[in-house]
Symmetry: C2
Subunit: 374 residues, 2 copies
Amino acid sequence: MKLKTLLIALATTFLSGICLAQTTPPVVKEDFKPSILNQPQQEYPQVNSQGYVRFRIVAPRADSVKVSLGLGGRGGTRLAKSADGSWMGTTEGPMDEGFHYYNININGGKFNDPGAMNYYGSVRWESGIEIPAHDQDFYALKDVPHGNVQQVLFPSPSTATSRRAFVYTPPGYDKKSNKRYPVLYLQHGWGEDETAWSNQGRANLIMDNLIAENKTEPFIIVMTYGMTNEIKFGSGLRNFKVDSFQTVLVDELIPFIDANFRTVAKPSDRAMAGLSMGGMETKSVTLNKPEVFAYYGLLSGGTYAPEDFKDKPQPKLIFLSCGSKERPDGIKSAATALKGAGINAVSYVSENTAHEFLTWRRSLHEMAPLLFKK
Amino acid sequence: MKLKTLLIALATTFLSGICLAQTTPPVVKEDFKPSILNQPQQEYPQVNSQGYVRFRIVAPRADSVKVSLGLGGRGGTRLAKSADGSWMGTTEGPMDEGFHYYNININGGKFNDPGAMNYYGSVRWESGIEIPAHDQDFYALKDVPHGNVQQVLFPSPSTATSRRAFVYTPPGYDKKSNKRYPVLYLQHGWGEDETAWSNQGRANLIMDNLIAENKTEPFIIVMTYGMTNEIKFGSGLRNFKVDSFQTVLVDELIPFIDANFRTVAKPSDRAMAGLSMGGMETKSVTLNKPEVFAYYGLLSGGTYAPEDFKDKPQPKLIFLSCGSKERPDGIKSAATALKGAGINAVSYVSENTAHEFLTWRRSLHEMAPLLFKK
């Protein structure tokens, strides 16, 4: 018995020693708090001050529970069964600041975390989590006048249905009944829909805060479904045809908005921007219909080249952005080339973010003040 | 081998015979179609023309998959593993027409069906399914002028935050810039929130359709969170204190709405109604503040008695409703008693529905034309 105990003790020390030698285990601070995107009264998932995420899933008779969120490329976070039958685990490292989609794999099936709220991404309602960002103040819900986000149903003869759009009207829109506003048409990415920019993007709060600080011209934002999800990711992006969406946007939605909201119904007061695949759409639509929009924004959504404007009217502004973990050099050099050709182009790189929503929140925050300058 | 085959054949016949003798298996029509509330491109869950629901959940290594939906009191629907690793099953009988919440139990854990969209009920985002009702036309999305549903954030000093409400404005609200509208304050039930009436309730489409048929006075509907979910269901309903919510509603939200929308800011043009626990709230608030509202509606949410109005101004209308599978006699006799005391009361019973949203959609459809009659 004594020998056995000694051997175990030695083995334990030895194994610990090996672990320490290989990677120094990070010191994870035990200041975890429920994610601000949890469903009401839900304690998990939790986030600590370093950006680690701790999950807890109740599935007493499950054999394997895995979370898709974790360190990039390492296959997410495997949870371990606790004494109370729940499954718990913490990400191997801190997550990037901002919003992340994720899901849970229970015994081979993909489900959502019952603790978290859901956001439409990857062509499904996914669980969402928010790692507080050091600059989160610009998209926080603050005690300032708020604009409204309204759902409108607009007739779409080309698709033989009523389609949905969300319209942000700035604070005071209902009271200032003679004022007319410019409009930004703002598109989501692949796998997302018209809910993305106000839910995970917080576009309305970003605008409310900018307007309260007098940093931007107040304008209307219109968000509708870009019809991007009929194709499988990766396989068919290049084969995507923008025509159907362009018809809905230009021939149906824009006239509806101009007829039902107090817009300045002129190209000089109309912008289009989109994130990721919404950027691809923006590029196609603006180049196909240069007479409709005057301000173009591609957020992690490609670039324009000077050649694109050979036989076309030049826009008043091109805004190009992406996260520093994407391909910032491409964005910067494209803006330089455009400027070299006499086109007003601005590039913006979001520090320490990837192809995710904090990049796009920051991009909107940077882009808005540049739009509709007289 | 031959003997074994024969024995198996006999046993099968015998067992089938027993089953048939006990209960005649219903003939389930094989005309299943994806539920209209499925997530985009999802084939399951499916509903057939009789109201049976068929589920399919992919969880290859699960040991048990159960759906909370099924025949009342019989514990839902147990799914069986298919050859392809998915779990499938059909409800034992047809479901009531209309909307139902449900969830999936995977190896002891409660999750949502990845095929269905989610709706906030039972203090969580639950899966939702829709059994087409024979009268579904009144809440269908039709080619008629549509009102908008807009999210507003209103200051709430009493709770030290900005709170959310959804506001339905009738078709043409933005164009008829001199017209003022009456307002219905419409509350959700326990476990739900301010999203319920427009998502699962389809309040906006019900109103659009009624207005298109000239069957109701156009009015604004305001929906906010009733603060009902801090107490556990069943245990504390009687201990619920309406005070905090009453302050938010009467002292904060109503003045905000009257200041920011073109309302007729008078008690004679203000109604309050609620479903289930929202009815309890309506009863408390209207009796505490009879000077604020003139029309009261309790949808599966209790009754008023003539004594309630002893020393109080009488409302212009009391609307009481419930499903035929609830306690319709209580609703009817309460209305009779109120009428006997000279109070204008109307009762409505939704046929073949229980404490669920089709009861409340129909109730709104019946109640709306009775409100704000001059």
